[in-house]
């Protein structure tokens, strides 16, 4: 092997680097020409070989420039990060070539060949995405079947919510506590009343008409706020010394964790009303909220229990030795630390919850993904599934990514380690 392979060496650095760069350039030019100009320089080679030619040439080029401690910073960085051995060289090239080859078509579909102007499917003449679909249906995607004339109520409910949440970041001390209590316990009722109406001269809008992104937010927010404390008490209950509390917590958690959410939702729609006395009626949305909340609370309980178990026994003993009882010990010492430990797990559960909300379609409630599903079956807009789902996916991604970033910030902010 030694005789066949020329070993790149530091003495002839310049010639090796220029030789290697030449090969690499050829490989890149071939891929670029192939992607953007539809030219195939290597078409004289037999099929498969022609396809892999840039990869092989590029790998040879990378082999020649692989010189350790060359003294050239740029070269050293390339070698350590992309080109530390032959396998890494091949993998790096595959990734780079794949990006070159597949990003342009995606961008074309999204922007360059996409249609933005117009009001009907017929005006979508380009080969890319038909964003007119999303534009025309945007109102429905956000508000569902909520009457147009009443949509200001949803807007103002969310506006007030965001204003209050924003304000809670700026005020401090006692007022912050009051604001948070108001947000958690009073505002949800006011907000729901504002959206559902029926009193104070507001027209009643039945929950079947609610929908779209606003419903996604409503369901997620309620379930998030409610499942957290329930999960916390279940976690404490499962670790309790009192058998009655312990075993009912275990039973509850295992029951809900063992059933698929979609089944739970069906039960809430079909079975639950049968247990109610005649004449009583619990709104569909409320039933769904209860079902999702209890379902996620079981998961939350196990996440929080993980945090409780990770705390050293000494923390409990120190709290006890200072004369703290069960509740003070848990709320002042144990839970603050345990919850901090499991922020990633809590964020995980919250994200899963937000992404589970589309399942409420099984009881006839259509949030964002449900509305997309409905819109794409409209005879005037057949064949728009791709655009609709990409839009819904993007919106969900933005929501979830924002939550994920927030949880990371929280982790940093609460960290008291050195």
């Amino acid at each position: 092997m030694k005789n066949i392979l020329i070993k790149p060496s530091k003495e002839k650095l310049n010639s090796f680097v220029s030789f290697g760069s030449f090969f690499i350039s050829i490989a890149f030019i071939d891929v670029l020409a192939n992607t953007f100009l539809n030219l195939n320089f290597t078409s004289f080679l037999p099929g498969k070989l022609s396809y892999f030619a840039p990869l092989i040439i590029g790998t040879i080029g990378l082999y020649f420039i692989r010189i350790e401690f060359s003294g050239n910073k740029m070269l050293d960085r390339i070698n350590t990060n992309f080109n530390s051995n032959n396998l890494n060289a091949v993998l790096s090239l595959i990734v780079i070539f794949a990006l070159i080859k597949y990003i342009p078509p995606v961008l074309n579909w999204f922007f360059f060949d996409a249609n933005f102007v117009g009001n009907s499917k017929e005006e979508c003449t380009g080969s890319g995405a038909c964003w007119i679909f999303v534009k025309v249906w945007f109102n429905r995607f956000v508000y569902g079947m909520y009457p147009d004339a009443e949509q200001w109520r949803i807007n103002s409910a969310f506006f007030i919510l965001f204003a209050l949440v924003g304000a809670s970041f700026f005020v401090s001390g006692k007022y912050k506590t009051y604001l948070i209590i108001f947000l958690l316990f009073v505002y949800p009722i006011i907000g729901l009343k504002l959206i559902s109406g029926g009193d104070f001269g507001l027209k009643y809008v039945e929950t079947g008409a609610w929908g779209g992104l606003s419903l996604t937010f409503i369901v997620s927010a309620f379930a998030l706020i409610l499942c957290f404390p329930i999960g916390m008490f279940l976690a404490l209950g499962r670790r309790s010394n009192l058998p009655a509390i312990k075993y009912s917590s275990i039973g509850f958690i295992e029951l809900w964790r063992g059933v698929p959410l979609i089944t739970v939702l069906f039960m809430s729609a079909v079975m639950f009303p049968m247990f109610l006395p005649d004449g009583t009626y619990v709104d569909k949305l409320i039933r769904v909220l209860i079902a999702i909340t209890l379902f996620e609370a079981a998961y939350m309980a196990e996440v929080i229990r993980g945090g409780l178990q990770a705390l050293p026994k000494g923390q409990y003993e120190a709290a006890k030795s200072l004369g703290m009882g069960y509740w003070r010990m848990h709320f002042l010492i144990i839970l603050p630390q345990a919850l901090k430990l499991v922020i990633p797990g809590i964020a995980n559960t919250f994200l899963a919850l937000v992404k589970d909300t589309p399942l409420i379609f099984v009881v006839g409630l259509l949030e964002l993904a449900g509305m997309v599903n409905l819109a794409k079956t409209n005879p005037k807009w057949l064949g728009m599934a791709m655009e609709g789902y990409v839009f819904a996916g993007l919106v969900f991604w933005i929501i979830c990514y924002a939550m994920s970033r927030y949880s990371q910030n929280l982790e940093k902010k609460l960290s008291t380690e050195r």
Binding site: K320, L322, G323, I333, P336, T416
Partner: protein, 243 residues
């Protein structure tokens, strides 16, 4: 002087293993007792029974006139009067040193925040760590953490202090700063029960020494007698090994 702690024929089992065998002990107010003995001899278990971090199965433990048993409803009240310092410090890592010290006075003794902070600063001053009050436990050295833990216990203004091997987890050069604070506390007249292997400390402050082995109190004597002419052979052997 009046009795503040009284143990009568206390027996304690961990499952089948008997950790305390027929232990009887009386501690007077302001008395300083040092408990020593080989590991596994039940010394930690003994003092942990006094504030019921461990439960005893037989016998009586009476602290400040109140018997401790499973029927004790206000065990929290007794614990609030009995301070404890642990081997592993057990500071609350999510709170600053000052908050560590004020938390229990505010929430258990219901002191106003301002008063609790005054007491905390006074005690932090006493263990010479007042300048670190705003820091978090993770930012301090082991010796500083242990002194903070001592200050935290003192902030409850306890009648009795229990020390469970307070210097065993420390680097050698930090042991002295913690022992100095403890000597200081002893001179101020605190009732103290200390489990430790620091015999220098014992000779300096202890009124009585207790030697434990296999769950029994083998020997209890005045400090001077204990070191100068121990009665039991087991004590002699132990002392010859550690001195």
């Amino acid at each position: 002087m009046s009795k503040i702690i009284e143990l009568k024929n206390v027996n304690k089992w961990f499952d089948k293993f008997q950790a305390l065998k027929d232990v009887s002990l009386e501690v007077n107010q302001q008395e300083k007792i040092v408990i020593c003995g080989p590991s596994g001899s039940g010394k930690s278990t003994l003092i942990r029974c006094i504030n019921r971090l461990e439960e005893h199965q037989e016998g009586q433990i009476i602290v400040d006139g109140k018997e401790i048993s499973e029927n004790t409803k206000d065990i929290e009240k007794i614990r609030a009067e009995v301070g404890m310092v642990f081997q592993q410090f057990n500071l609350f890592p999510h709170l600053s040193i000052l908050d560590n010290c004020t938390l229990a006075p505010i929430w258990v003794k219901k002191l106003p925040k301002k008063q609790a902070e005054e007491i905390a600063m006074k005690n932090l001053e006493r263990v010479q760590i007042a300048d670190q009050a705003k820091k978090f436990p993770g930012q301090l050295s082991g010796g500083q953490q242990q002194r903070s833990a001592l200050a935290r216990a003192l902030c409850m203004e306890p009648k009795i202090m229990l020390f469970d091997e307070p210097t065993s987890a420390l680097d050698p050069e930090m042991i002295k700063e913690v022992l100095d604070s403890m000597v200081d506390l002893a001179k101020a007249g605190m009732t103290m029960i200390v489990v430790t292997h620091e015999m220098g400390f014992a000779k300096e402050v202890a009124d009585n020494m207790i030697f434990m082995d296999e769950g029994r109190i083998v020997e209890k004597a005045k400090t001077k007698d204990f070191f100068d002419n121990p009665k039991s052979d087991r004590t002699k052997l132990f002392l010859s090994q550690i001195l």
